[in-house]
């Protein structure tokens, strides 16, 4: 059974199509790159899988379970908006997720905070953008779930922070789970992918193992440029 299965999923926003008849299947144990330019449908796709939005048509299942309340314990989502609230300190944010999610691993969170050089007493509003991204990632990766969805985890942060965030992803990745990372910054992140999905104007235009791409003599970035060349 696939970990994630989408069948003919369509989602429209104000007359435009966020997603157009997307069908997709993902197996467990992979780091998958969801690549596409801005506005291609990456965030819409992730929001639908996380249950933050509802498809106009089609079905989405995680481990065979239709997306809904039951899949909240199967999916950890890092959206493009903060997972924290302005009143929180770093330690409050960790306690909040530990209190609500039985799968939240406090020890893992503690290790990640240390790795990310985040202080528990820091108010979240005082964190720089890069530090805030690190905290959001800490919260998302500290859960033990089969499917992680990271929406642009390195968008808008400096190259040093990017390296740190990618190291954390690789470090904390568990091989029995699948991690989907959306980005348009292909060069910085392609080294961690096992598989890539290219999305354009709400349609999946390519889904392929990175190893197969390399064997055919082209890298992920070249494929990205080729597919999305204007």
């Amino acid at each position: 059974m696939s970990l994630l299965e989408l069948a003919n999923v369509t989602k429209r926003y104000k007359g435009t199509r966020g997603l157009n008849g997307v069908s997709l299947s993902l197996d467990p144990g992979k780091i998958v790159g969801l690549l596409g330019p801005n506005g291609s449908g990456k965030t819409t796709l992730m929001s639908l899988i996380a249950g933050l939005a509802h498809p106009d048509s089609g079905t989405i299942k995680v481990q065979g379970v239709p997306v809904g309340l039951a899949t909240r314990s199967l999916v950890s989502f890092l959206p493009d908006q903060p997972l924290t609230e302005p009143w929180m300190k770093v330690e409050d944010a960790v306690a909040y997720y530990a209190d609500f999610f039985a799968d939240f691993d406090r020890e893992k969170a503690r290790e990640l905070l240390s790795f990310m050089k985040l202080l528990p007493s820091d108010p979240v509003t005082a964190l720089s953008k890069g530090m805030s991204e690190r905290l959001q990632l800490t919260l998302a990766l500290s859960r033990r779930v089969p499917l992680y969805l990271l929406d642009e985890p390195i968008g808008g942060v400096d190259p040093v922070a990017r390296g740190k965030i990618l190291d954390a992803i690789v470090e904390q990745y568990s091989e029995d789970s699948t991690l989907v990372v959306s980005t348009h910054l292909v060069r910085d992140i392609e080294r961690i992918f096992d598989e890539v999905i290219l999305i354009q104007e709400g349609k999946i235009v390519l889904q392929q193992e990175v190893e197969d791409l390399r064997l055919s003599g082209v890298g992920v970035e070249e494929t990205f440029r080729e597919v999305f060349a204007e």
Partner: protein, 257 residues
């Protein structure tokens, strides 16, 4: 639900305590130093009532704000909680504040009756028995619940659809809906003036007269009045609003792009 309620209180505790602190200070000031030389006696009573009404409004807004956050923030929407947990947490959060205000009002009334029988505010509470207080509390609670539940539905509608003028449509639709419910109630139950039965049952009139007899608080006198058709009609609509809100939360509410 309990955990969400705990975090709502934790998030806003300073704000809520601040509001209650200001209310207590205002009432203590009016109790010990009524500014009768600066303003009229009715003005002092008005000021005291405004303190309670202001705190009531703040807690109502807090309850609505809490529900709004449950629909807006990913930190709330991604929680493994049923829609009804979000609704109940926001409602109970508001009701707790309402209960604290009611408790303060009760203590205030007892203090006035027992220790300050000649205080000008004592004239206001003198005709109010404990039964009147309980009836007023019950009616006020329903008034609070009906108001915030209808606004929850309004917010859920706004977060469920994406067309351009959805906020305007929702506000106009909300007013039409409440007016329609009120008119139908008048027609079905032959009530005389407009507005909700529950609000009508709690009639507070502020008047300015030398002996303060213009100030009048009245509540329902018997349980049969409570179970009148008009009240059941309003409760039915309250339940309908909650069901509609829960349905929207489960099937339609999503992030607005």
């Amino acid at each position: 639900m309990r955990m969400l309620l705990y975090y709502q209180l934790k998030q806003r505790r300073n704000h809520l305590l601040g509001v209650l602190g200001i209310l207590v200070l205002l009432e203590l000031y009016l109790l010990f130093f009524p500014p009768v030389r600066q303003i009229t006696e009715a003005g002092v009573i008005m000021l005291s009532g405004t303190g309670y009404i202001g705190a009531f409004i703040v807690f109502s807004v807090e309850s609505i704000r809490s529900f709004f956050q449950s629909l807006k923030l990913p930190s709330r929407r991604l929680l493994p909680l049923r829609p009804v947990s979000h609704v109940l947490a926001a409602l109970i959060y508001g009701l707790l504040g309402f209960a604290v205000i009611a408790l303060l009002a009760l203590l205030h009334g007892i203090l006035l009756k027992q220790a300050f029988p000649r205080h000008l505010l004592a004239k206001l509470v003198d005709p109010v028995s404990f039964q009147d207080f309980l009836a007023g509390l019950a009616i006020g609670t329903w008034a609070f619940l009906f108001s915030v539940i209808s606004i929850y539905l309004l917010i859920a509608f706004i977060y469920s659809f994406h067309f351009k003028y959805r906020v305007l449509v929702a506000i106009v639709g909300y007013n039409l809906l409440l007016t329609g419910i009120s008119r139908l109630e008048e027609y079905l139950f032959q009530v005389e003036d407009g507005g909700s039965e529950i609000f009508r049952m709690l009639s507070i009139r502020w008047g300015e007269s030398a002996d303060m007899s213009g100030v009048n608080v009245s509540g329902p006198s018997s349980i049969t009045h409570w179970l009148s058709g008009a009240l059941l009609y309003e409760i039915a609509f309250g339940v309908l609003f909650i069901v509609a809100t829960l349905w929207l939360m489960k099937n339609k509410v999503e992030r607005i792009k």
